[in-house]
């Protein structure tokens, strides 16, 4: 199934096998210009493999990565900003030299490289450390250097594997605002993370991957629509009001004035509201908005078979 690919960066049906392990199976998603795309999934789900394939560091067995409609080639790959999962820097090389070297490898001239290093080390608050060896920096600062390395050549696409892991709250803020700024500047940004609250707050769209398959792709709201549209929180009537009401199932609550119910398909929510009012005053009757954490658990646990269609 190849969806119509119209995003700026389209990952189309990529599969990758390592020996007996099917690491990726028909992974498809798109990232649009100016969009921050959060890539979530458990350890070994395939996030890193996907990103490596986008970068051309690994080759896919099937499928392709397209950018503005044409296959990604080495010339574009050079213009992607990449932050690998396990940080990659020469431990004994000085920060400034290292960043200049990487910028030069991405094709910048000597003067441009110097200017870029000055700009980004300044923006990320590590300008004072450019003369220090990378290994002398704290892990958080090393990560800022790593981000500088990804940004130094003014990339047209950003692919960041776990950019937030191990950062303190200040650094998380700095990193978030840089990603947001880049996206606002029209650069598609993909990043993976285990910090679901952060993903929920920062991302325009989210892709959930499990066991090598995309099980859900969409905005947080779209994901919520998926199977929680019929879940309602009711505050007011004492527990027990729902007993005997047809077409609903109690799935949670506090055993007192709060009840969470799921309505069967075809059940009229107004009928349910009337049943609740019959039992006592209703102070609140509203659609439940599960946090991404719960969505994630639902999606991952229900397995790939229950995956939503990739939005066209």
């Amino acid at each position: 199934m190849l969806a119509r690919l119209d995003g700026m960066l389209d990952v189309g049906g990529i599969s990758k096998r390592f020996g007996k392990l099917q690491a990726l199976d028909d992974v498809t998603f798109s990232v649009h210009p100016g969009e921050v795309f959060g890539f979530v999934g458990g350890n070994g789900a395939g996030k890193t493999t996907t990103m490596r394939i986008v970068l051309g560091v690994l080759s896919a067995d099937a499928g392709e990565v397209r950018w503005k409609g044409s296959p990604v080639d080495s010339d574009l790959r050079r213009r992607i900003g990449y932050m690998p999962e396990e940080r990659g820097l020469y431990p004994k090389m000085k920060v400034g030299e290292q960043l200049r070297y990487l910028a030069r490898l991405h094709g910048l001239g000597s003067a441009e490289a110097n200017a870029a290093v000055r700009h980004w080390t300044d923006a990320l608050g590590i300008a004072a450390r450019v003369g220090d060896e990378v290994q002398k920096l704290s892990l958080g600062n090393q990560q800022r250097v790593q981000l500088c390395a990804a940004l130094g050549h003014d990339p047209e696409v950003l692919v960041l594997d776990e950019p937030f892991s191990g950062l303190d709250p200040t650094a998380v803020e700095v990193m978030s605002s840089v990603l947001r700024d880049k996206a606002n500047g029209g650069v598609p940004v993909i990043f993976s993370s285990h910090q679901l609250e952060l993903v929920e707050r920062l991302c325009d769209r989210i892709g959930i991957i499990a066991a090598g398959r995309m099980v859900a792709v969409g905005t947080v709201d779209e994901l919520r629509e998926r199977d929680t549209a019929s879940v309602v929180d009711v505050h007011g009537p004492a527990v027990g009001w729902a007993d005997g009401v047809s077409g609903i199932e109690v799935i949670g609550g506090d055993g007192g004035a709060h009840t969470r119910i799921r309505m069967a398909t075809g059940t009229d929510d107004q009928d349910v509201l009337r049943a609740a009012l019959a039992a006592g005053p209703v102070h609140e009757f509203r659609r439940w908005h599960p946090p991404l954490t719960e969505l994630y658990h639902d999606v991952v646990n229900s397995g790939p078979a229950a995956g939503v269609e990739v939005p066209a």
């Binding site: 490596r52 970068l55 051309g56 560091v57 690994l58 080495s74 010339d75 790959r77 050079r78 213009r79 992607i80 990449y82 690998p84 999962e85 396990e86 940080r87 990659g88 820097l89 020469y90 431990p91 004994k92 090389m93 070297y101 990487l102 030069r104 490898l105 991405h106 094709g107 910048l108 441009e112 390395a149 050549h153 003014d154």
Partner: protein, 393 residues
Amino acid sequence: MSAPLTARQAVLLVARRELVTQVRSRSFVIGLVITLVLFGGVFLITGYISSQASSKTLGVTAQAAQLRPALEESARAQDIELTIREIDAGTGRAQVADGELDALLTGEPGGYQLLGLDTVDSDLQAVVTSAIQQQTLTMALAGTGVDQAQLAARSQLAVDTLEPVDPDAGQKLAIALVGTFLLFFSVSTYGGLVASGVVEEKQSRIVELLLATIKPRHLLAGKIIGLGAAGLLQLVILSAIGTVGALAAGLLTVPGATVGMFAMVIVWYLLGFFLYAALYAAVGSTVSRQEELGTVLAPMILLLIIPLVPTLNLLPNDPRNELAAVMSFVPFFSQVVMPARYALGVASLGEVLISALIAVIAIVVVVRLAGRVYQNSVLRTGARVTLREALRT
């Protein structure tokens, strides 16, 4: 705006980083100093040993003292500096025990005894044996009327050579051995640095970042060229100091042979280095951590040591040794054996060129295979990559 790098630019950028990093590193300077100290030490020790080796002190008891002229004659014939001290048996034993005497000779004709501490020096034993034989012979001949002078004259052996004896053979040997050590040292050190550099990039995962922008073969080529240049720089500095120093100090009086060997060492360093560096890089790329490197490099070290064996053990006494001659044409061995044979004057320039050509062909083949292994292995972390997996296209 950035422009794509050409292959040459990419290789040069990588090579420059490797060279600069290496030359600025403490290990580069330390390596230079240690090598110079080592060579200086070896020269001093060799000099000391050769000044010591021929001087022996032998104690003789009064009874055995009649052997003294024969002993002196025999020592002279065998080119051994012998001091003879007459002493009584008791004191002699004590002095052998103290190490003041190398051995003590007791007894009388028909029953001599040579006493050493825990072993009897073989040179000394040869001198004494020959003296006793001479004495016995003289005594036996005394009654027969044979003219001893005539007998001696008739026992002469004349030694001659087809080609003139090379008066500089000793110096050439010294040059060959120093060159051999330099080559072994440079190729193993800088080959090893290539391997650990590959593992460093793999372990720190920077290789992912690098390979997202340049091709694996450009990264590998840049690394090998950069480190090779650092090794070349070190080798040139060492050789230049050695050559100038030895000529200035009068240790070497053959500037032609010395400078010729200098050039040979440089050329063979390059041939040997590229061959081994490609292999080292391939082997290094199959492991993920520096700790695992030792295990996979052990066979490489062995491969490097093999050509040292004929060079150090066979060539000094037998420059035309056939095994060494064969090995001087075999890639992986030739970089050590051929320059030594050339320095000893037993290989012609033509032979050197043929051997170099074979080495170049080997480099082309090995670099291709190594490049394939490297590309297949460098992004795979975790378990060691097997050779079969690494070689598949």
